[in-house]
Amino acid sequence: MKTLYITGGRVIDPSRNYDQTADLLIEDGIIKKVEKGMKPPSDAEVIDADGLVVTPGLVDMHVHLRDPGQEYKEDINSGTRAAAAGGFTSVAAMPNTDPVTDDPSMIRYAFDKAANTPARVYPMGAVTRGQEGKELAELGRMKKAGAVAFSDDGKPVVDGMMMRNAMQYAMGLDALVIVHEEDPALAARGMMHEGTVSSVLGLKGIPSAAEEAMLARDLLILKITGGKMHVAHVSTAGSVEMLRRAKKEGLNVTAEVTPHHLLLTDRMVKNSGYSTNTKVNPPLRAERDRQALWEGLLDGTIDAIASDHAPHHPDDKDMEYDFAPFGIAGLETTLPLMLDEVNSERVKEFTLPVLVDRLSTGPARILQLDSGTLKEGSTADLTILDLNRSYIVDPDSWHSKSRNTPFAGRRLLGAPVYTIVGGRVTMKEGVLTE
């Protein structure tokens, strides 16, 4: 493997509060040295990062790769190409595949298929067999096979006793349980956030209480079981408040938020004339929820930004609103969207180091990955960004098979220019190297 020498970049490493201009020497896929003004070895490939930002490799801890089962929407290959193009070195794949990833052989399948992809795949296993909420899946055997977390994402574990057992059993394995908080009875097959906009549009609403009631239950369960829980795609002000309190009480809980919940509200459903690209679960909420999510992200209540990349084939979304599936694809937009927020200074405290923490160090810590850091001796997963590069969201140019985004046409400032996985450049100047 070639020796890499990255010179002159602003190096941001939230894992040790590091933010200064420095050079990096990478040998055999390992970060050997981070220092100012080293002399590059003569055989090294030099990357001139002057004016660019060097960060630990970004980790998207919530993606749906649809593989196996729905490869016409996405597969491990296209999904990891999208990830690398979007600046991610690693993605954690949700287990709602077909069949459900609820067995060690399915975990191995994902690792095997992702052996040579331009980004790493960390598969997650289902909490319950077939995600049916009735029997525990083999969490221990899946963990041995490499599952990084367990989730029935896409739906909640409805039965409280099952959830309690899952949490308790997972604790014995030091395993992370990721929860999708939604009371299906309260959600009542709703199509969008319940509020003024849903009332005007005549679309069935999903009240904030559907998420909050389930989160409240699970926090109470966590209190009796112990263990560690991660809350996927937090979307309401009430959830942020509950999480803030739970963390203060010392509960071992973490949380993530998506770019679309940070940037859009239910008004988008109306303004887009019922565009199905606004249909997502949890739904785009009200402005006060959006504000609260930012507050939570900035004060550390929310630990990570994750895309909840939910790719769908264009035909699937080209339907009447009720008939289209939920989901927004985000692997190729998450980083540019968030960089644009940093550039715009719309939210003052959202600085580049905070962005890097929430997109790299934070999720890596939650999933206990050997990344999210530029410490000497660690694996050379890196992302190099250009804050001044303009980026237009153009789904037709995506590596993902999907096109479903409500951000199409947006002109943004800030984009990834290099994705480096284990010392191997997988994306350069927006182009995949393989």
Partner: protein
């Protein structure tokens, strides 16, 4: 010649008072055609229209079809069950196929809110929304306004009360927007479970007592109560609803003498509206039905921009 400067009629929320006035005034001259012995004008001769009904309908469908015939347009009607939808064809494909056959205007009823918007985005033909899910039913709103306007001579400052299942009603939504744009004061009445969440957005007052709501009303409109809402737990029984919220002579005892009683049909007699009121002197329910044809003729005329004979 005045026409509407829009391709589609999707809802009254997005329509201006001027546009509504133009439609109502045009409907008035159309009604004059309906009163002739030979109810036919050549205005839309050679123009093609499609009626696409994904939900059952008697009144609205008949009304559109007659309007089309009176205007001499060529119309085809496709019902949800006999359509290719059952064969798995998408709405977009269905309509694009009919479009290349020469259809210039599509009238659609569909169970999903927003489907008229979706269709309008995807075809060049004009789209008239004949009811989309719980969203809007603009032609019903217009015919209701036409009926009130004809009977009262105005819409401004009239007090209109809509009673019943506002939450699931596209008729209510169209009326709430349209009437208020025309200067009427609108209130709604019924059990809180049948009110849309965050009702304030419509700018109307909510009453849980029917007597209070109708006390000084000029118009009261009852909405059809659907049995399936009982099964979903929105109210306990038809009987209890009738006793608590149903309109009957006793409940309307202390109301204005010239109160108009309206209903978009079909009526559950004895549930939301008693027969003595529905068939009584203050009822304008049959006027509404007749107005429907005139309003739809007006819309076809204004959208397809036919020249007057």
């Amino acid at each position: 010649m005045q026409t509407l400067r829009r391709k589609d009629i999707l809802g009254l929320e997005e329509m201006s008072a001027e546009e509504i006035t133009l439609i109502l005034e045009t409907a008035r001259s159309m009604r004059e055609i309906m009163q002739r012995k030979i109810k036919k004008v050549p205005t839309l001769r050679g123009r093609s229209v499609l009626n696409l009904f994904y939900e059952p309908s008697t009144r609205t469908k008949a009304s559109f079809e007659l309007a089309q015939k009176y205007m001499s347009s060529d119309a085809v009607s496709v019902a949800g069950t006999s359509s290719s939808l059952v064969k798995g064809e998408t709405l977009k494909d269905t309509v694009r196929n009919v479009e290349v056959m020469g259809v210039e205007c599509v009238i659609m009823r569909h169970p999903v809110s927003g489907s008229a918007h979706y269709l309008a985005r995807n075809v060049e033909a004009s789209v008239i929304n004949a009811g989309d899910g719980m969203h809007e039913h603009p032609t019903q709103g217009l015919l209701d306004m036409f009926t009130i306007w004809e009977n009262k001579g105005r819409l401004e400052e009239l007090k209109v009360v809509i009673v019943g299942d506002i939450r699931h009603s596209r008729v209510a939504r169209s009326n709430l927007w349209g009437l208020q744009k025309m200067g009427a004061e609108v209130a709604v009445a019924g059990p809180p479970t049948l009110m849309p969440p965050d009702l304030d957005v419509f700018g109307v007052k909510h009453f849980t007592s029917i007597e209070e709501a109708v006390a000084d009303a000029d118009v009261v409109m009852a909405l059809r109560l659907q049995k399936e809402r009982q099964e979903s737990g929105f109210f306990p029984s038809m009987r209890e609803y009738a006793e608590t919220y149903g309109l009957n002579a006793r409940r309307l005892e202390h109301t204005k003498e010239d109160l108009l009683i309206m209903h978009p049909g079909p009526i559950n007699r004895g549930i939301e509206l008693s027969s003595d009121l529905a068939d009584g002197p203050r009822s304008v329910i049959m006027d509404q039905v007749a107005a429907g044809v005139a309003v739809r003729m007006a819309l076809l005329y204004l959208l397809l921009g036919g020249t007057k004979e």
